[in-house]
């Protein structure tokens, strides 16, 4: 099996799907030239005008994708950085998410918005955000955030096959990470979490880059004698509540980790659902960890002070497990 980066894996997904389905088109800025992570490289050479350059008109890019999707195309739209999708927030929330509902089920809106998110190398506040909570809050949008190349390909294929708008979030820092990726068509279904590591003491629930960090944290915790279950949600809408509850019922302790701000973040939804369902069975409060509630600063030292690192997931886990170290204390 070839070893591919996440960018190469999603590129492969596009190629596989576009070969079998002529209604799949790609639109967005600069896609003809390959995209920032090589995720569109070579597609124009093979598929010509089905890979359609767009002007920097985010609202039109998304609005046109909604219109085209409702007429039978399956547009895959590159929004580049997730912050740029905010230029089309009206089209995402008021058109893409609502079209099927407001017309009583007449419309189908099969489209994928690919957005790069997360902190990377001092990109500063307008190129570093993770906005999944914003999208997940709106009914009618599916929200996907893979952490491995294998999942990225399989989830993207599922997202394109889906007859609804899907926000496909691609964390910038993990794009180069490689994994064995099967050739050809395969799918990772939306709404199925995966247990990345089996443990009995505590559950760490994460997605995207923080699922990678959660695995690192779990290895560090093992040295402290804490055996963690690590759940990678992979998609947050639909949310695989069952896998989360099954694990927490077993471990009676939970930490939720994500790259986005802890305050008002998606972790709050997961933590609330856990305590509503399993309050009597928990041995400790569910703890959320994420970015501190400010804009990602430019200076590397400042950036490190805001973004969530693997050690902080481990520290939170020790708190939940009642084994706090002095070094674990940090201002909230």
């Amino acid at each position: 099996m070839p070893l591919l980066s996440m960018g190469q894996a999603t590129n492969d997904a596009m190629r596989v799907v576009m070969r079998i389905d002529p209604t799949v088109v790609v639109t967005g800025l600069d896609i003809r030239w390959g995209g920032s992570f090589g995720q569109f490289r070579g597609l124009y050479d093979e598929f010509g005008e089905r890979v359609l350059d767009m002007p920097i008109s985010e609202a039109l890019i998304v609005g046109a994708a909604v219109g085209a999707a409702s007429r039978g195309l399956r547009p895959v739209v590159s929004m580049s950085f997730v912050e740029f999708a905010l230029g089309a927030i009206d089209e995402i929330v008021n058109q893409a998410a609502k079209l099927r509902a407001i017309f009583g089920g007449q419309a189908r809106v099969p489209m994928v918005l690919r957005c790069a998110d997360g902190v990377i190398r001092s990109a500063a506040a307008q190129h570093s955000e993770s906005l999944e909570a914003l999208f997940a809050h709106v009914p009618g949008l599916k929200v996907v955030a893979p952490s491995t190349a294998y999942d990225a390909k399989g989830l993207l294929i599922s997202a394109i096959a889906d007859d609804n708008p899907v926000i496909f979030l691609e964390n910038k820092r993990i794009q180069p990470t490689k994994a064995e990726v099967p050739e050809g068509l395969y799918q990772v279904p939306l709404g199925e979490a995966v247990v990345r590591r089996q443990g009995s003491d505590l559950t760490i629930i994460a997605y995207s880059i923080q699922a990678v960090n959660a695995l690192q944290a779990a290895e560090a915790l093992a040295w402290d004698g804490i055996d963690a279950d690590v759940i990678d949600l992979r998609s947050i809408v639909p949310l695989d509540v069952e896998t989360v509850m099954r694990s927490v019922r077993k471990t009676r302790h939970a930490v939720v980790a994500h790259e986005a701000w802890t305050f008002g973040g998606f972790g709050a939804e997961v933590a609330a659902q856990i305590q509503e369902a399993l309050f009597e069975e928990l041995d400790a409060p569910v703890i959320r960890v994420g970015a501190r509630h400010t804009h990602n600063p430019f200076a590397p030292g400042l950036e490190r002070a805001v973004v969530l690192a693997a050690e902080e997931i481990a520290a939170a886990a020790r708190r939940v497990a009642g084994r706090v170290r002095r070094s674990d204390r940090r201002a909230p």
């Binding site: 359609l52 002007p55 609005g63 219109g67 017309f103 599922s158 096959a161 007859d163």
Partner: protein, 342 residues
């Protein structure tokens, strides 16, 4: 490419007057819109109807002329003031009235109401509660026509208020760049919600296409024939790969922005003056002068249509409410197994 030059094109096209049968159908549509809106206004003000509604009365010539110029497979996008567009595209009174009453038999099963009337089977891609919401949808529908190899044209209705949305310019640029088969038909009813055009808008509306290489055409929006002719010319141009046309149809909203609103921002004298240009008596006078339909015929159409509207209200009132257990339906479409492996 200036907008004055293109007026000549519309003038040429207007030489071809539609057949008598089509003229009579256009007349019936205009009267239908007027009667439908009259009844909706009455029932809404009597608080029998839920939600909010925006009356199309006074603007009938634009929807009717625009849709009469299209082929059956062509598409339209609409606005929050969409009843006229829907009727002109062939959506029936029953399905519309039931929707306005929030009934399961409504075209959107009670999910949309007045601001979201749609019938995709007739190419009516939906009224839209967001001003300017149709620009992207129309561009996308035209893009889909290009990719899918159909020769469908998309007619995008919007108001003068939407001319100041960024999406207007984004859509003009993109559809002109790609020469997509779309027509931008602005019904300038003189008001963006409550605020008059001269307080919101710089320059000449039709001139806004010039920078994008899009011809701009100005027509009397209270006269159905030039609207039909200009739209027909624009549709032919779009179908031949000539790209978008911007049509500005000057008209007037008889009532306020929404039904039930106390209108304080314009004088009764202004309304009375504008009502003299009422598109229905004007068209009826033309039909009578041409011996196409006499006064008795006009009265007969009006009575027949009024009876149909009344019947649609009876239908709506007798229809069942949506089952509350279906409140979560329609959020997501079930994914079909096209090439899905799951």
């Amino acid at each position: 490419m200036g907008f004055t030059a293109i007026e000549a094109t519309a003038g040429t096209a207007s030489a071809q007057v539609p057949s008598h049968a089509r003229l009579l159908a256009m007349h019936r549509t205009m009267v239908g819109i007027r009667q439908f809106e009259k009844r909706v206004r009455t029932d809404y003000l009597a608080r029998r109807m839920p939600g909010f509604t925006h009356s199309y009365s006074g603007q009938e010539a634009v929807a009717t002329g625009g849709c009469a110029a299209l082929q059956p497979g062509d598409l339209i996008t609409s606005t929050h003031r969409g009843h006229g567009h829907a009727i002109a595209k062939g959506v029936g009174f029953r399905t519309m009235m039931a929707e306005l009453y929030g009934k399961a038999a409504g075209g959107c099963a009670g999910w949309g109401g007045s601001m979201h009337i749609a019938d995709f089977s007739l190419g009516m891609l939906g009224a839209n509660g967001i001003v300017g919401g149709g620009f992207g949808l129309a561009a996308g529908a035209a893009l889909a026509a290009r990719f899918l190899g159909t020769d469908d044209v998309t007619l995008c209705f919007f108001g003068d208020g939407a001319m100041n949305k960024g999406t207007f310019h984004e859509a003009m640029n993109f559809t002109a760049l790609r020469q997509l088969p779309v027509i931008f038909l602005c019904e300038n009813n003189q008001f963006a919600q409550y605020t008059a055009l001269e307080r919101t808008t710089a320059g000449a509306l039709a001139g806004r296409g010039t920078g994008y290489g899009v011809p701009g055409v100005e027509v009397d929006g209270n006269d159905v024939l030039p609207v039909e002719a200009a739209t027909r010319a624009a549709a032919a141009r779009a179908r031949q790969g000539g790209g978008p046309t911007l049509i500005i149809a000057d008209t007037y909203r008889f009532y306020g922005h929404n039904v039930g609103e106390a209108v304080s921002y314009r004088s009764d004298a202004e309304v009375a003056l504008r009502r003299r240009q009422d598109p229905i008596p004007r068209f009826e006078a033309w039909l009578q002068a041409g011996g196409i339909l006499d006064a008795a015929g006009c009265a007969r159409v009006s009575a027949e249509v009024a009876a149909e509207v009344d019947e649609s209200v009876a239908f709506a009132l007798a229809a069942a409410d949506p089952d509350p257990d279906t409140a979560l339906d329609h959020l997501f479409a079930p994914t079909r197994a096209v090439w899905s492996l799951i």
